[in-house]
């Protein structure tokens, strides 16, 4: 084989995978994310109103001790764009929570970010009290469902996407069966942020 062709083929293969969105990110991590996974979270007053502070505390600490590059502290200040946690209400039946990411555009406006392509300024986490209390997965208590949802949504703020439902993971989109990061989740977290 021509010596110049072999490297060219390798480059073509790499670019093909890149264009197809399959590399270098892990299968369930976002290409986008915040500049650092060592960050703080601010609790909106709704969290205390519903008495979910300790559950959000657990959700944050669940992602600690896995990677030296990942740590979510708690702040009482909204300065410097910490992540923000809320407990709210939704009209979408069976929706338990969501975690939008935000960025600052070229004009300084804060707008929704594309989780796969943008560098985020911060995230918000909403856990929906009205749906979680009514629509728990079979066999789980309300407290377990809240715990699973908050850990899951906080995982999104660390650029973790949804895991295939075939995996044992707290990051599956559909259903709540795990309450803390599994080995799969830990591997994905480290693939994104390092050890």
């Amino acid at each position: 084989m021509n010596r110049a062709i072999k490297p060219s083929l390798l480059v073509c293969l790499v670019l093909s995978l890149f264009a197809a969105g399959a590399w270098p990110a892990g299968a369930t991590t976002y290409w986008g994310g915040e500049a650092s996974a060592i960050k703080d979270a601010y609790y909106d007053g709704s969290v205390a109103s519903y008495g979910w502070g300790s559950i959000f505390d657990s959700g944050r600490s669940n992602w600690g001790g896995i990677s030296s590059k990942v740590s979510i502290g708690k702040t009482t200040s909204t300065a410097n764009y910490p992540d923000k946690y809320y407990v709210g209400q939704t009209s979408n039946a069976n929706l338990w929570g969501f975690a939008p990411a935000y960025k600052k555009d070229a004009n300084g406006n804060i707008v929704l970010a594309d989780v796969n392509y943008d560098t985020w300024l911060y995230c918000t986490v909403s856990a929906y009290e009205n749906t979680i209390k009514l629509n728990q997965p079979g066999g789980l208590t309300t407290s377990q469902t809240i715990s699973s949802v908050t850990t899951h949504e906080i995982g999104h703020t660390l650029s973790l996407g949804h895991s295939p439902s075939s995996e044992t993971s707290v990051m599956v989109s559909a259903g709540a069966t795990n309450f803390s990061p599994t080995n799969y989740d830990k591997t994905e977290l480290k693939s994104k942020w390092g050890n």
């Binding site: 093909s16 979408n92 975690a99 749906t131 899951h152």
Partner: protein, 202 residues
């Protein structure tokens, strides 16, 4: 190795790069007054109660219908709610549907051929005064004048809401390409659709 292998690899790469450029990463904007420019779209990661079998989906639904949305997406009622500090709390679209068949209903369901259903997608105006189409977990909205079977449940406000995201509505006449291509994992959507068509004779 033959030169043709090199050329195939080069052109395949070029094609994939073109596809990626025009794919999900592209952002288009529109002005607030509704000009004809495409709208920015953002999918927000969400967690929800999900079903991968018809039995459990059917059991959880309060209302199962075949119906057709009456209005185009942009003409529907779009709702967003915010926390006290202005942060987005929730979003949805109220989609008016003409019912052609009912397969399950509550005992107190009124005699009607119209219903409004909550879909987990909406149009919001952001701080840059531009509109953004926000959707939960890559949800693809029901399209006007196309026929779907839909699984609905009453929310805590008394409205009927789509459940199971993209796997809670199924285009029946093959005209919604986005619905047909939303089978993201293990063919669950296709499996459900086949079960639904078989059970309800659709």
């Amino acid at each position: 190795m033959k030169r043709w292998v090199y050329y195939i690899g080069f052109f395949a790469t070029a094609i994939m790069i073109v596809i990626a450029f025009f794919g999900q990463g592209s952002v288009k904007t529109t002005s607030e007054n509704g000009s004809s420019n495409p709208i920015r779209e953002v999918s927000i990661p969400a967690s929800y109660k999900a079903f991968d079998s018809l039995g459990t989906l059917e059991q959880d639904a309060d209302l199962i219908i075949v119906g057709t949305p009456l209005l185009d997406f942009e003409q529907r009622e779009h709702v967003a709610t915010y926390y006290d500090d202005g942060t987005l709390q929730d979003f949805y679209t109220l989609t008016e549907i003409r019912i052609s068949k009912i397969m399950k209903k509550p005992t107190d369901f009124p005699v009607t051929d119209r219903i409004k259903a909550v879909e987990p997608v909406g149009l919001i105006t952001e701080s840059d005064k531009l509109q953004t189409k926000v959707k939960a977990d890559h949800y693809s909205e029901l399209k006007a004048d196309k026929k779907y079977v839909m699984f609905l449940k009453k929310n805590t406000f008394g409205q009927y809401s789509l459940i199971n995201m993209n796997n809670g509505k199924f285009n029946l006449d093959g005209t919604d390409v986005s619905d047909l291509t939303q089978d993201g994992e293990s063919g669950i959507k296709m499996k459900l659709k086949q079960q639904i068509e078989s059970k309800f004779g659709l």
